[in-house]
């Protein structure tokens, strides 16, 4: 069994009008089966309202399934005895950087999780130092969070989670409120965690360029898993992605257009280098044909 596993996960909530009468039931997550291997970098894509954030909140035992089950490292999230173990093993980073930083000084915020877990004082300091170094924020440890940029705040939030020594970390649209520089910073930090520290990463996003390096991608739509596969497999289905209201990197889109116009390119081109290589190859072939 993988580190995160869901089986037949369904989450429904009841909509009520102003008087509190039941208006209807919305199924936000619908029969989702997920299996994430230890050490993987998994991305979950989907537009706003596709159910991806609701799914994420189940893994940290903030929400509980209406039907089906969720296991974190073999622990059932509905098992009340394991609640704090689950929250420690599956750390969570949220969207709005301002609304998840508790401390008034960076280092104090990173220490908040270990404090709650009852870690001895000296060890808290060690953990704070290593976590801040892992996200490249150590020199800001004495700063007030209000003086940091959005990307820096998110990196502090990530450090706050790693200081709890989780086995996996779930990031719920951590870049949605950031500018391109901040987005790059955060994605780089997350990738380093996965590569260097071997922490399992579950990244939820709607930015396609952030998932190019993922091991596996799940695309969600209307609460269901609509597509799954490697980034290349996903990106080769441009029309499908468009239907699901998702963006495709310009280079993939251009390759797709060229292919439609009869140029012999493979599907699922992800980087500028790949496209240049392929076009160069075709161009040379044309040259040879001319000579002959």
């Amino acid at each position: 069994m993988g580190i995160i596993k869901t089986k037949g996960l369904v989450f429904e909530y009841i909509r009520r009008d102003e008087e509190g009468n039941v208006e209807g039931i919305t199924r936000a997550v619908d029969e989702v089966d997920l299996d994430v291997k230890k050490g993987d970098f998994v991305a979950i894509l989907g537009h706003n309202g596709s159910g991806k954030s609701t799914l994420a909140k189940h893994i940290n035992a903030i929400l509980y399934p209406t039907e089906g089950s969720v296991w974190v490292d073999g622990m059932d999230t509905t098992d009340e005895k394991e609640l704090w173990n689950i929250r420690q093993e599956a750390g969570m980073v949220f969207q709005n950087p301002d609304n998840q930083i508790i401390g008034q000084v960076v280092e104090e915020d990173v220490g908040f999780g270990p404090e709650n877990m009852g870690v001895p004082t000296e060890e808290i300091w060690e953990r704070v130092e290593e976590s801040l170094k892992a996200v490249g924020m150590y020199k800001y440890r004495k700063f007030s969070p209000n003086k940091l940029s959005g990307g820096q705040k998110q990196r502090v939030s990530i450090a706050g989670v790693i200081a709890m020594h989780p086995k996996c970390i779930i990031l719920d649209e951590p870049t949605a409120m950031l500018d391109p520089n901040g987005r790059r910073e955060v994605v780089r930090a997350v990738r380093a965690l996965n590569d260097v520290e071997g922490i399992t990463v579950l990244l939820i996003t709607h930015y396609m360029e952030e998932i190019i390096h993922a091991d596996k991608v799940f695309v969600m739509d209307k609460g269901k898993v609509a597509m799954q596969g490697t980034p290349r497999e996903i990106f080769s289905q441009v029309e499908m992605l468009r239907q699901l209201r998702l963006d495709v990197p310009q280079v993939t889109l251009l390759a797709h257009e060229l292919k439609k116009s009869g140029i012999d390119l493979p599907e699922g081109i992800l980087t500028v280098e790949e496209l240049t290589q392929e076009l160069k190859r075709i161009y040379r072939q044309g040259e040879k044909a001319q000579v002959q």
Partner: protein
Amino acid sequence: MSIILDHVNYVYGADTAMAVHALRDINLVIPDGQFIGLIGHTGSGKSTLVQHLNGLLRPTDGSIYFNGEDIHAQDYDKKKLRSKVGLVFQYPEHQLFEVDVFSDVCFGPRNLGLSRQETELRAYAALKQVGLEDDYFYQSPFDLSGGQKRRVAIAGVLAMKPDILILDEPTAGLDPKGRDEILDQIAKLKAETGITVILVSHSMEDVAKYVERIIVMNQGAVMYDDTPREVFQHYKELEAVGLAAPQVTYIMQALHESGIPVRTDATTITEASQEILRVMSDHRT
């Protein structure tokens, strides 16, 4: 209906130790009916600049003229200026407060002292301009989706019938589809009414498709002010200040460097694809 900025400087906290020079010697002319992209990363001064255009901030030094009049002259009517230069802030849906969508949009025109009938006519027209369906008019704005809320907030400014519409990061936090929808709606509005539009953004890719002029801000100063085609040619300099040209620019540059004789000034995927196809077919025949 032009705006002229003449040697505008702005310093935050001028008389404290923490003074920040947010704008440096800005000279700009914004003529009637242009579609402009104002680009810069966070802290480049672009938000500070747009708050000068409707008189919310007063330059520490320099002058701003709207239709030839100095907007900081003694007897200048600021309220009227603000109705003519409509500014939609970032995350505008966070300012909605009324019990229903329609009343919220009425807030602006009512503040202008218009008659009830005129106010409601304008509100209705504005909601139509942002493409909101009638079914939503009497719902609480807080029950709408993110994209719909944002439309309502934009309508709230449009209802004041501005000559210039400035939108600060209108796509922030929206998903790709929501982003395209709102930008398409703005482009449609621009085409139908001929109003001047300034899109403030940190994404070149988003605005490249729509605008005819790009102003790039860096460290409080204007770095480039030209057509998208010309601005993107400086992609290396843009990169150095933390901005990126659209990916298309990089593709065309890379192809050119690898010996395929494509022109490098394509700004959209359609242009790029046509250019590559042209070169490829020329080559074969």
